[in-house]
Structures are given as C-alpha cells and as structure tokens.
C-alpha cells in the first residue's frame, strides 16, 4: 500500500528537526538550507507549518522535464530526481504549482522530496507528530473524524461553540494540503 506524508501544522512548534533530518539524510550535514521539507513561521499569526512535495500522481514536474530526469519510484510513489540525468534547466521548478522542487546552487541540479525510499527521516525526527507517514488513502481520516465530531447532535446543540471550532479548524488547515 502506498504511504504519504501527512502534515499537521497545528502540531508544529517550528523546531526544524525535520529540516535537519532531511538535510542530513540527503547531504550528510545538518543543514536546513538544503532541506527538502521546509517549516514556515507566520510570526504575526503565531503559526508554524511544515511543507513539502505531495508526490502528485500526474506530477507536473515529471511531465515538464525535457530530459526525463524525474521518474516514479514504483514502491513508494515518490517522484525522484535522477541527478545524473538532470541538467539543471529548472523547468520543473516552474511547472510545480506548490514550489516544492527547487534548484540547488551547490550541485547545479534540482532537489525534491524522495520519501527517503519509503522511510522518511523528517517523520521520524518530528517530536510532536506534526509529520507522520501514513497510508496514502487515509491522510484525511483524522480530519474527517474531527468534523464528524462537530456534527449537530440534535436540538440541544448550540451554534456558537460549533462556529468557533470550525474557525479553529480552518485556521489549522490553511498551511496544509
């Protein structure tokens, strides 16, 4: 069964353990600057949100690549960059609607999440469970459950707390995907 990274911004504290784990796995150094997952801080709103490639089924980056340097890992569903083939033209970085493929000056190639071959280090490093690696079909299950929990239970339920809960939920949702 395919698995996917599930990101829950409302659990993120902004510690960057995921960025260090990712960069260490991929470059051999603790180096957030070269991480393929990024944590964004929204200071005014007091929110943190991790963000990385969703591994689109019909991946724009893969289709856009003129030299077929981006290929599907059939075991994980990840779209992987073949560094030997990549010519650093950056067309994929334009094609990706989410911005999760990026050029790296250090290598002259592009880099993106490859799910660490099915054992993503970011998820292992996250201390709060904001990043988990779950069956791809189930990433929405907990959210569905949260909505279900808010469903009116009958005439006794009031509108006010319900609206409030929905707002809280929507705020948490914005940084995810």
């Amino acid at each position: 069964m395919l698995k996917a990274l599930k990101l829950e911004p409302e659990k993120c504290t902004g510690c960057l353990q995921c960025e260090m784990a990712c960069s260490y796995e991929n470059t051999g150094a603790f180096n957030p600057a070269r991480s393929r997952i990024k944590v964004f801080t929204f200071h005014e709103e007091g929110r943190f949100a991790p963000y990385t490639c969703t591994q689109c089924e019909e991946a724009w980056c893969m289709h856009a690549c003129p030299v077929e340097a981006i290929v599907v890992d059939m075991a994980t569903g990840a779209k992987n960059v073949l560094e030997d083939v990549c010519v650093g033209c950056k067309v994929c970085t334009i094609a990706c609607p989410f911005g999760t493929v990026n050029y790296e000056q250090a290598t002259g190639k592009v880099m993106k999440c490859d799910l660490c071959g099915g054992d993503p280090w970011c998820a292992k490093a996250c201390p709060t469970g904001a990043i988990t690696y779950v069956p791809a079909d189930d990433t929405g299950m907990e959210r569905m459950r949260a909505w279900a929990h808010q469903a009116p239970q009958g005439p006794a339920s009031t509108n006010q707390p319900r609206e409030k809960q929905v707002n809280v939920y929507m705020a948490g949702q914005q940084g995810s995907h």
Binding site: T13, G14, C15, L16, Q17, M20, A21, S23, Y24, T27, G28, A29, F30, N31, P32, A33, R34, H43, E44, E45, G46, R47, F48, A106, A125, P127, T128
Partner: protein, 616 residues
C-alpha cells in the same frame, strides 16, 4: 570535530573582518560557547578596562553542538565585560541565529574596537562585510529587523540586533535575535551599541557536517530526546505552561519575591501565571497564549507566543501590537508583575513586547521599576522626578508609561535605564537595591530557597538564577530533593550546579534540558560529536575550570570577596508569611564553606594550587 575550527575577527575601528583558526587547545580545555569565549576574553582584554570603551570586546559564540540535531542544539552566547556589573558578562540565547552562524561556518565572531559610524555585519558563509547602519540607527529591533529583511530580500536571513534603549545607554540592554529571543542579561546589548554595531545579519548554507561519529551521535541524541519526552517537566510542564509553570508553585512555597522583595508571596500570582495564560480573557474571549514554540532543534518547545487583546488600554489604537509575538516567561512575568505588584496579564505581555522590541532585560528592568516604586511610596521619588507619573506599586498604567519612556531612554526612563543599584544610590537609599554586584535578582526569594542565596551571592555575573539553579533540587527534587529552608549542605549543592551548568552553557545545548538530563545524558552526545574523550567527569572538570576562570577575570577587574554578598533586606528582614516565615538567608554560614570547597582563600581568591590545577 563538531567545531568549525574558524573564528571571525571583526575589527570595527579598522573596518576589517578576518578569518583565523580556532585555538583547539582552548576548545579542549573550555569546550565552546560560554567557556571558550570567556577564555578568549580573559586572554585578550584587561579586565579592569571601562566596559563601554573600545577596548572591550564582544564575542558571539556557538557551542560544538549548536546547529546539530541534538535537542536544543541551537544556543549561542554573547560574552564581554559588563557595563552593569563590571564583571564578566555572558548571556545565552536560543532562537535561530546561533545555528545560522554555525551553518555559515563559524564557531565565534569577535568584535573589537568601535566603528566611526553605525554599521551592521552582513555574514553569508565565508563573506563578511561591514555595511552602513545609518538608516537603522534610532530604530527599534522590530523596525530594523523588517528593514533588513527588505534590504536583503531574503526571508531566510537571521538577525541579532540592538534597540533604542541600547543606543541610549541603558545599562541592561540586550542583544535581541529572531525578534523575541535575547541574550538578555548584564548589558551585552549596551556594549554592542557602544561599538556602533547595530546588527548582525547572517545567512549560513554550509551546515554542520563534521560530526566525529555520526551514527553514534544520531543514536545518542535520539536517546536524549526520549528522556526529555518522558520527563514530566520537559515533556509536559514546559510545553504546556512554559517556565510560567513556576509562578503558582513558587508563590505557594513563600519564595516569590514581591514588591521589591519586601514580601515573599503575591496575592495576584494566579492572575499572571502559566495557567492564567490559557484561560479565555475578558474582551475577546481568547486566551493570552496562542501556542508554544520551539527554538532551533528544541524538542521541548517551552516558548510562549501570545497576543494582547486589541481593546486593552495598552494597545488600543496601536495595531502594530495586535499580532502575536514572544509572550511572558516566568522571570519576565515575575519582574514586570510580581515585583511591581501588577497583576494585569495583558499589560505585562505588552510591556514584555516592548522589552523585546527595544531590547532590554525584563528582569533588571522590572526589578528597577520595583525599587523606584518603593522609593516613590516613601516619597523619595515624586511626580516631579517621574514627569507626572504616579509610580505606585500595582499600577499597570504607571508601569506602561515608564516602559514607553525606557524604550527611548527619555525622561524618567533614562534614570530607570541605570538599573536598580545606581538608581537607589542616586536617591540616597542603596540598601533598597535588590542586586548582587549591581545586577538585579531574578524570581526566587533566597529566604525561602536558601541555596539560591549563595548562588546569587557567588554568581560570576551578579544576581542570576541560571548560574546555579538549585531550585531544581530544593523545589522540584531534581536530581534529588533537598530542604529549601535549610542551609546545610547547600555550598556543595551550589558548587555542583554551578560547575555542571558552566559545562552545559558551553556545549550549545539549553540548560532547561537539565530538568531531565544529567551530565550522563549529555556527555555521550558531546563525545560522539567532538574530538577528544568527553565523559561526565571531564565535563565537570571543564565546568569548574570555567567557573574559576570567570572568577579570576572578576578579581582582576577589581571585584573582591566582599562583593559576594546579598542586600541587607535578605540577610536581616525575615520573611513575613508562608513556609519561610521568620527566616533570613543564612549566607554568612554558607560562604566560608563554599570558598573552602572551591579551593579559594578565606578572602575568596584562587589559591596557587587551584590555579595550577586548572591552568589559570
């Protein structure tokens, strides 16, 4: 390795920035960060100089584990001679800039001399440039941060900056990084501003890759994280309530210094506690606290992110303060609140915002306001002095009014910027200054927590809770419980905490880990990362060496054993209520024993044997 092996030496007088090799012998003897930078300062300046002269140096320093995956491995320190105390200053901060300096390839940055006109340092990996800060001078930390981000067009730069208070000569100004983390104590920001250095702007993309034994390091740090996760303090208490978890606890044990330390319990403590920050407030029904937040690499995440209610008198019509920013930590809530008798949570949060925005230590500031309030109550300070402000204990309005003046160093704010000692001397009541070596007390009353009295009196940077936090043992039972009301056995306890803390402060890790970690948890992480053998015993030896070096710096600066004392109030006026009722601090019986186990003379000087033992 874990050290980058590189020091950036910036001479502000000449406008140069040069790379030099780190002294690896010193790294072996002093580890990094606090210890190593103190060694550089000790060797490079005459401790007797004027702290605000160009002869002083300012060192921004990381530890070997800064910038790594070790939990809390993001700390850095700012080290110089303090203008507040005349002693060595070493202020530690989290946030993200320490790791950024390390990722840029530097263990430390040494600033020398003084620039002719305001400058800032732009550091991008190997490239270091001094640039004009003409337009930044006169701006708050928050304004300057925004301007620098706009100028550099890079959201990923990290910034450490001084505010208007530092520029105006406030003696306890901080170096603020990442908007609301600070190297807060002892006036390190004042020294930075005295050099015409407004900010340090860093982008590091090299990372930290030279770990001695990477697999063992990952394993050791993973085990460390588990210990933090499983501890009730670091796994639950701190993430949920922050350091503010202590407000009600310390109040109940009658060790919460109140109204300039006249009293030991505060009737309003529960209104400004960590618990209160979670409660919906009047006005908008939201809690003061929005979320907790982590510094770089921290798996505890004790940081507070808060708002002030838009309709609160402090921020009404000031939309720039309606967003989230760094909320109240225990020390700030205590100093700004308990010590001044103010129990308005949102007012304290706003004042805390201002301390961050204009860069001054909320502990020293709150304690100085408290002293001024006592003098106002006595009629020694009047509205003539304050410019019409009724500076009464408990008045949130007065606190806010004088804070806004202190931000700019204007009017009575200029006087408050002198700190409690100079303020009380100016008005003829030096006994009312609650300070040691000129630095204000933090939030633990040494009548109700006896060991802290000795820790304060002997701290190498003046009164400070972070140099020997015996509260852990005396209150929380970590690593084992001792009776807070008893002075017996405390000299040994204080020494043990001081030495261990000096080592932790030199590693790049946060001292809050020691609520769960002992040196036995820390040593394997350092040992896997760093060249050499790093056992717990070696760390204790390094810690003790650092303590003696700092002490010797202070003695050479002109301090003596006579400065290892407490204000009369804490030695003569017994606690009036609570478990410590009837007690004063028993410093006079603890101090001689402490000198003895330190290997110092009865006058508090290092004996020749001690010097030889530590190579000082």
């Amino acid at each position: 390795m874990a050290w980058t092996g590189k020091v950036l030496r910036v001479n502000l007088s000449r406008g140069t920035a040069e790379s030099e090799a780190l002294n690896m012998q010193w790294a072996s003897d002093y580890l990094g960060q606090r210890g190593l930078a103190s060694k550089y300062l000790y060797e490079e300046i005459d401790p007797a100089i004027d702290a605000l002269s160009p002869d002083n140096k300012l060192i921004m320093t990381t530890g070997p584990l800064t910038g790594t995956m070790a939990s809390t491995g993001g700390r850095y320190s700012v080290v110089c001679k303090s203008p507040l105390t005349g002693a060595i200053a070493c202020s530690n901060s989290g946030g993200f800039i320490g790791a950024e300096i390390k990722a840029a390839g530097w263990d430390m940055i040494i600033f020398e001399g003084k620039a002719d006109a305001p400058v800032y340092l732009w550091l991008e990996n190997e490239t270091a440039e001094l640039r004009s800060a003409k337009d930044l001078w006169g701006k708050t930390v928050w304004e300057a941060d925004e301007m620098l981000h706009r100028m550099h067009q890079d959201p990923q730069i990290r910034i450490a900056c001084v505010g208007r208070s530092a520029e105006a000569g406030n003696l306890y100004a901080a170096v603020v990084n990442d908007l609301h983390r600070a190297a807060g104590r002892s006036g390190v920001g004042t020294v930075m501003a005295s050099k015409n250095l407004k900010a340090v702007v860093v982008r590091g993309t090299r990372g930290v890759g030279n770990i001695k034994d990477p697999m063992r390091f990952l394993q050791a740090t993973e085990e460390g994280k588990k210990v933090l996760q499983e501890s009730a303090v670091t796994g639950q208490g701190l993430p949920t309530y922050g350091t503010q978890v202590l407000m009600n606890v310390i109040n109940e044990m009658g060790a919460l210094p109140t109204r300039n330390m006249r009293e030991v319990q505060f009737e309003g403590a529960h209104k400004i506690s960590g618990e209160a920050m979670h409660e919906p407030r009047e006005g908008d029904g939201r809690p003061n606290l929005t979320t907790n937040a982590a510094c770089f690499a921290c798996t505890i995440a004790c940081g507070r992110i808060s708002t002030v209610y838009k309709g609160h008198f402090t921020v009404e019509n000031k939309p720039q303060y309606w967003g989230n920013s760094g909320g109240l930590e225990y020390e700030a809530a205590w100093a700004l609140g308990t010590d001044t008798g103010v129990d308005d949570l949102d007012a304290l949060t706003y004042v805390n915002f201002l301390c961050n925005e204009d860069g001054f230590d909320p502990i020293s500031y709150g304690a100085t306001v408290a002293a001024a309030m006592e003098l106002f109550e006595m009629g020694v300070i009047t509205t003539k002095d304050t410019g019409g402000i009724e500076l009464k204990f408990g008045s949130a309005e007065a606190l806010v009014a004088v804070t806004e003046l202190t931000c700019r160093g204007e009017g009575f704010g200029k006087v408050l910027g002198l700190g409690s000692k100079r303020l009380c001397e100016k008005y003829g009541h030096p006994d009312l200054s609650m300070t040691v070596k000129g630095q204000e007390f933090p939030a633990y009353d040494p009548r109700g927590i006896q060991g802290m009295g000795l820790a304060y009196a002997t701290s190498n940077r003046g009164a400070c809770h972070l140099r020997g936090y015996t509260v852990a043992s005396e209150v929380l039972g970590i690593p084992e419980k001792t009776d807070p009301l008893v002075s017996e056995g405390k000299p040994e306890l204080v020494k043990a905490f001081q030495d261990a803390t000096a080592a932790v402060d030199s590693s790049g890790l946060c001292v809050f880990t020691t609520f769960a970690w002992t040196l036995d948890d820390i040593a394997p992480q350092i040992d896997a990362a760093c060249d050499g053998d790093w056992s717990s015993d070696k760390l204790l030896e390094v810690g003790e060496r650092i303590w003696n070096l700092e002490r010797d710096f202070n003695l050479r600066a002109g301090l003596t054993g006579k400065d290892d004392t407490l204000p009369k109030r804490l030695r003569k006026d017994a606690a009036n209520v609570g478990p410590a009722k009837g007690l004063v601090n028993d410093l006079e019986n603890m101090l001689p024993k402490y000198y003895e186990i330190r290997g110092w003379t009865p006058e508090g000087e290092l004996t020749p044997e001690t010097r030889q033992r530590f190579g000082i």
